[in-house]
């Protein structure tokens, strides 16, 4: 089974592009102290707003900090927020979905009405509302994104669970005396894991986008810690004469989100049992 998936993965160009980009980005983030030519917080007021050159690959910002170094460090923030927020959302959404779908009745109705209520609010608005009451820092951003983006997954998992729980192997498992938690996590969970994986991958891209937007608005990661979002904020003020300050962080966000989306879409095709060969 795994061999087949690996074969399909290699044949899927988009997924390959996506994962290659993510791999390179993750390596850069992981080894950033050894890669960056300047410390990301090091100011050099003599070299303010330098355009890209050999000395400063992507130019410098208004305080003379090296943009390339800052973007590399920013990738750490983006990836951390992406993975942690999605982990929270995935654990929570999967659990709620499984319980809701399997037990049905009032448990299902209650949980799904809560999901409906949360879905009434535009996600970004909801996050803005919550973050306004909290101290804007990276930890809060991750938690808030995590706990506001599990609803879609919960619905997805619930739907899958509803169809799988009627299958005969669940009845067989019950007839052999397996306990309810075992049926949920040993038998049902592996059957719904493919859509969860796809949804989580797409979710990382989305979480990175939300983090950047929050930081751009000044409600996310606070300066001087570099984040793609707050670098963009600086760039906005100088957009007429320092184009590199807006373009490069923008491209970073674009390509990262694109990479996760390509990987997610690719995984969807790869894990689809109906797809050919």
């Amino acid at each position: 089974m795994l061999k087949l998936y690996i074969k399909r993965f290699i044949q899927n160009k988009f997924a390959l592009w996506g994962i290659s980009f993510i791999f390179i980005l993750s390596s850069l983030a992981l080894f950033s102290p050894f890669i960056v030519p300047y410390a990301p917080l090091e100011q050099n007021l003599l070299e303010r707003l330098q355009s890209p050159s050999i000395l400063h690959l992507l130019g410098t910002d208004d305080l003379g900090r090296d943009l390339f170094s800052r973007l590399i460090y920013g990738s750490r923030i983006s990836l951390t927020v992406g993975f942690v927020a999605v982990s929270i959302a995935t654990l929570f959404g999967t659990f709620i979905g499984l319980v809701s779908g399997y037990f049905g009745k009032w448990i299902d109705s209650t949980l799904m009405r809560i999901v409906d209520i949360l879905l009434c609010f535009p996600t970004f608005f909801l996050i803005l509302m919550v973050i306004a009451f909290l101290e804007p820092n990276i930890l809060n951003v991750m938690i808030v994104i995590g706990f506001t983006s599990w609803t879609g997954l919960a619905r997805l998992v619930r739907g899958e669970t509803l169809s799988f729980k009627e299958r005969e192997f669940i009845l067989a498992a019950k007839s052999l005396g397996l306990s309810t938690p075992k049926i949920l996590f040993f038998h049902l969970l592996p059957n719904v894991s493919a859509p969860i994986l796809v949804s989580a991958t797409l979710g990382v891209g989305n979480a990175i986008l939300i983090e950047s937007s929050l930081s751009f608005l000044g409600l996310g990661v606070q300066p001087p810690i570099p984040s793609w979002g707050n670098i963009l904020t600086t760039g906005k003020d100088y957009i007429h004469f320092a184009w590199w300050l807006s373009l490069f962080p923008g491209l970073c966000i674009l390509f990262t989100v694109l990479a996760f989306n390509l990987l997610g879409e690719g995984l969807r095709d790869i894990l689809d049992p109906r797809s050919q060969n």
Binding site: L171, A172, G177, P190
Partner: protein, 323 residues
Amino acid sequence: MLLEIKNLSLQYVRGKKIISALRDVSLTLDKEETLGLVGESGCGKSSVAHSILRLIPANEGKITHGEIFFEGKELLQMEPEKIRQIRGKEIAIIFQDPFTSLNPVIPIGKQIEENILTHSLKTSSLQLKEKIFSLLEEVQLKETERIYNSYPHQISGGQRQRAMIAMALANRPKLLICDEPTTALDVTVQKEIMELLMKLQKNLKISILFITHHFGLIGLYTQKLAVLYGGEIVEEGSTQEILKNPQHPYTQSLLKSLPRKSFKKEKLPVIPGSPPDLSSLPSGCIFHPRCPKAIEECKKKVPLLRELKKFNRKISCDLAPFS
């Protein structure tokens, strides 16, 4: 006596319709005995099996009255946790289609392992693996290593059913319910599986409740037989005697409609009409609309299951015995 079902009645609710799937079904099964439960589709065979293990979802069906005793313990009133410990440990069940009753995304070995762990204390993983291998050998599977690591779709139907049997017998239950265990398999595999079951029954000293619509298998492999029609037992007794000399008109018609070895091209006799609508039962005897021997009386009086001493069986037909 290992299993005793007393006056079991079961109703399903489908919207406004109430379907009485089982009415006053009583059965007994002794230790190391094989009881065949035979009947056409929708007569309630599987409902009996599911009732014993309390597998009927509360929102779909309800046991309106009756008792099921297993080794003297009443199953229907038992707490959910206690019944869970009986499932798989004391009573196990094999389903019709070995493909749908195995989890498609978990390797066979893992599924058996999970089932063993449910009912026993933790053992070392090496011992556990050895136990699974010996179980797979017990059901005469070759290439145990490969089967252990295979997913259900990677092995054949016969192998899947053997794996299912290994799983059901992993915790050495006293009663094995086989719900049409060979219907989804082809005839040669069918024979192998049945022989295997009989061999295991002898070795492990288990009782088998064998549910099928296949009279051939019933005749070969069971000692006792109960014929179910429209949720009622119409004839019950020794398998050989019933097959040799059926007394209930339904059993008679069923046996007549079996294809025989003959080179003559002739039409097979059939039972006219169709099985009763269980949400609106006919008056009187449930079989009277299709019965070739029915008289006016049959439309009014409900026949009770009574002892027929001369033929050593129970029967629910007031006109019997037909000489």
